[in-house]
């Protein structure tokens, strides 16, 4: 029988517990089973047939998958991979959440992807000379088309091809690991050369499959251009701007200095205390675990409110959606905007 979990990845964990303070769900509950170390103990029990696999369902759903436990782990446990395996085991058949089935249904079909792009004012198709391809993203093209438009405007050398589907991050994070990898490979073939993405989550997934040399997240790519940016003014003063890190961009790819470097040129950059902590969007989490998602973000919303920011910049569409929703609910006036759009404003 195939191993349920990669044994070498389970073996890496020595249960030291250094991950506990970094885990949002452990912070919420104080419960060992809701910590990375506890979840690995549970995976081991399933691997050794001490627990039925289905018992992992609750924790595999409660975990945000933010991977904040990874950079703090001296042993180098790849928790993100283990979580993907955990969901692959548990989110099957009737245990796959309906919402996830719906999301898969949309992005798995050509018609679905076509519908997402239909009447969406995203960046227009064009082929340019370079081998740099802009990735539209699946739901990003529908929800935030202005982001790809901003990038296209900033970089005339970028090609925008309509022949692109989902990168598979959605699948990998929601229990379809192999499919997720396959989609990433397909996208890699459809967009040869370097893929430029405005979604941190997609960047991390894509680069884990097709290699980090072929993927550039927007901020990574922009800082290399070394273009001096004009500060953005509002009522004769520089804007006050904060950042929400993308978890997978930060913890999975180690990219967090770059967006800050850009924002420091655009205005008065203010680091919100929880900038590096998950906003609770966490891919499908905000849809599947509404209550917990709101608990996770609540502290951040108070912080943003107290700092009186003009903008909070994001580098991942899920975070944008979550912050827009929650800031509106809390009646906070701070505008949520993708980093690329902010750069485009300064270049006007």
């Amino acid at each position: 029988m195939r191993e349920k979990f990669s044994q070498d990845k389970l073996d890496r964990c020595i249960s030291c517990g250094y991950c506990l303070p970094a885990c949002p769900t452990y912070k919420l509950t104080g419960n060992e089973e809701s910590s990375p170390r506890g979840r690995i103990t549970l995976m081991r029990a399933v691997q050794n047939d001490k627990l039925p696999a289905i018992d992992l369902l609750q924790e595999s759903s409660f975990c945000l998958g933010c991977r904040a436990c990874e950079p703090v782990c001296p042993a180098g446990v790849e928790f993100g991979v283990l979580l993907e395996e955990m969901r692959e085991i548990t989110w099957q058949g009737k245990n796959r959440p309906l919402i996830v089935r719906g999301l898969f249904f949309i992005v798995d079909s050509k018609i679905g992807m076509w519908t997402l792009g239909l009447f969406s004012p995203m960046a227009k198709r064009r082929s340019a000379q370079s081998d740099l391809h802009l990735m539209y993203g699946c739901f990003e093209r529908r929800l935030f088309p202005s982001v790809s438009r901003a990038v296209a405007k900033l970089a005339p050398e970028v090609s925008c091809s309509s022949k692109q589907g989902c990168c598979g991050a959605l699948h990998a994070h929601n229990g379809e690991l192999e499919k997720g990898k396959e989609l990433a490979r397909q996208l890699g073939e459809k967009l040869p050369g370097t893929i430029l993405t405005t979604a941190g989550g997609c960047a991390a997934h894509l680069s884990s499959v097709i290699g980090s040399d072929r993927v550039q997240e927007f901020s990574q790519w922009w800082v290399k251009r070394e273009i001096e940016l004009k500060p953005i003014s509002k009522k004769d003063r520089k804007i006050r701007v904060g950042l929400q890190d993308s978890c997978h961009l930060r913890h999975g790819m180690g990219v967090f200095a770059e967006p800050r470097e850009i924002l420091k040129q655009l205005g008065d950059y203010v680091e919100i205390p929880s900038a590096a902590d998950c906003c609770g969007a966490a891919g499908s989490y905000a849809l599947l675990q509404k209550k917990n998602s709101r608990k996770v973000v609540s502290q951040k919303i108070s912080e943003i409110k107290a700092l009186n920011l003009d903008y909070i910049a994001t580098v991942n569409p899920g975070c944008t959606r979550q912050l827009v929703t929650e800031l509106r609910r809390a009646r906070v006036k701070t505008k949520v905007i993708h980093l690329a759009e902010l750069v485009a404003i300064s270049q006007k």
Binding site: C16, P21, G30, N31, G38, E59, P74, A75
Partner: protein, 460 residues
């Protein structure tokens, strides 16, 4: 008592929201940070206040149910693995800092506060909570007190036991006692506070802890010296201390640890060196400038030194210290199983002991990475092996027995700072003697007549 009865009665006592008995929760609490020890509890309860703790312990007493108080479960001696089933009482919900008094230089905390949280809070008052075990980011003060946790500042500042002024604790009968208080001087009665520190949950459960704080030093400075081998580094440590310096930190790592740590922390350490000595001091700027440059000089002139560098700034020094704290988990990168030891020996025989440990590794064909608090003579030889290789596992057992014999031969201890727990109980009598062992058993009976508090450990 059946498990369902146990759960029903506990629920009636403290409410169902803090009582769990599902298979998943029980499994999660089946171990701590010690490899190779596992046991399932029957129920988990997470009390919110002293009253609830007293009720739960009283119930355990009346029904003769084993009960283990657990903080973060980061101990390394299997002190909180429920080998006898029963109740695991998680103290993480009691995580409030009740008071910080700048004028008295004390803090009063609940047991579930983490070491780092407390230190960060008192920093705002210019104060410091001195004990700093490697696991300080996660370990709780309750757990620190239960094991008298050590750390990287032991030589100059002592360990947890030197900073505990008073305790509120629940005895094995469910009675609540208060020991010590807020004072520097207080000799009323036997020093029960000191007895409870390091008692590993076998005598009482802490519910409130009064700790002594110290002024935060105005400056600190750190450096690293590289040596041909660990024995050369140990000899340099001996020279430093006999020269009259009492620095805050003297830590060393051998090449195996050095490579693993560098792989995690990317600090640009010299991974070709046989050993690294991390030295440093804190205090007023002028005197530490003197002590640190003196240490650097002594290290440079020591036999087998390959070079000395000083940390450029506080951030660089913090990175070094953090990397050192991560030695053990970083070693996990090397193989599927790491067995860590915690022996302490007089400093003047340390060079000889590290050579002996190296010899034991060679003899049994095992890879042993040794790191430790060189200034304290506290060594952590760690065997890294393949858990699926019966040959290596058997060799490791033999090697461990030989490593344990070393401190006894040299007038040292089987555990410097991690504790006895289940991992070292079989060696305890050899260390402390038969009469003392009997005394420990007698003490246990006075505090916990029913033998329910963490049974199977120190005095029972």
């Amino acid at each position: 008592m059946s498990v369902s009865d146990l759960v029903a009665k506990l629920t009636a006592l403290v409410g169902g929201d803090v009582v769990r008995s599902d298979a998943v929760s029980l499994q999660a609490y089946s171990r701590d940070a010690t490899p190779m020890f596992e046991g399932l509890p029957e129920v988990i309860v997470a009390p919110r206040n002293t009253d609830e703790v007293a009720k739960i312990v009283k119930f355990a007493h009346d029904t003769k149910t084993p009960i283990i108080a657990r903080g973060a479960g980061s101990n390394l001696c299997a002190a909180t693995v429920p080998l006898n089933g029963g109740i695991v009482m998680s103290m993480t919900k009691m995580n409030q800092i009740l008071e910080v008094s700048k004028s008295e230089m004390i803090a009063v905390v609940q047991p579930g506060v983490t070491n780092l949280t407390l230190d960060q809070l008192v920093e705002k008052e210019g104060l410091r909570f001195v004990p700093d075990p490697g696991s300080r980011n996660v370990s709780t003060i309750g757990g620190n007190v239960a094991t008298s946790a050590g750390g990287l500042r032991g030589l100059k500042y002592g360990t947890t036991r030197n900073y505990i002024l008073g305790l509120e604790a629940v005895l094995g009968t469910g009675e609540i006692i208060r020991t010590g208080g807020r004072l520097v001087k207080d000799v009323a009665g036997y020093d029960v506070t000191r007895l409870l520190v390091g008692s590993e949950g076998t005598l009482a459960v802490f519910t409130e802890i009064t700790v002594a704080l110290a002024p935060r030093p105005e400056a600190s400075k750190y450096g690293v010296a590289y040596f041909e081998d660990l024995a050369a580094a140990a000899a340099a440590v001996e020279k430093i201390i006999t020269s009259g310096i009492l620095p805050a930190t003297l830590e060393f790592l051998d090449n195996t640890c050095l490579v693993a740590v560098e792989d995690f922390a990317h600090l640009g350490l010299d991974t070709k060196a046989g050993a690294l000595l991390l030295f440093g001091d804190d205090g007023d700027a002028i005197s530490i400038e003197q002590s640190v440059s003196k240490m650097a000089e002594i290290a440079k002139s020591s036999t087998g030194c390959r070079g000395v560098t000083l940390a450029a700034d506080v951030a660089a020094a913090d990175a070094l210290l953090y990397a050192r704290r991560c030695s053990l988990p970083a070693l996990a990168r090397l193989s599927s199983l790491s067995i860590l030891e915690d022996i302490a020996v007089p400093r003047n025989v340390m060079a000889e002991v590290v050579n002996r440990i190296e010899g034991i590794g060679k003899k049994h064909g095992l890879r042993i990475g040794t790191f430790g608090h060189a200034g304290d003579g506290n060594l952590h030889p760690t065997i890294v092996l393949d858990k699926d290789s019966p040959k290596e596992v058997a060799a490791a057992e033999l090697a461990l027995a030989e490593i344990f014999a070393l401190p006894l031969e040299f007038g040292g201890s089987i555990t410097g700072e991690h504790g006895v727990g289940s991992a070292k109980l079989q060696y305890l009598e050899a260390k402390i003697g038969t009469a003392n062992m009997q005394l420990q058993r007698n003490i246990k009976k006075v505090f916990d007549p029913a033998g329910i508090l963490n049974p199977g450990r120190i005095g029972s």
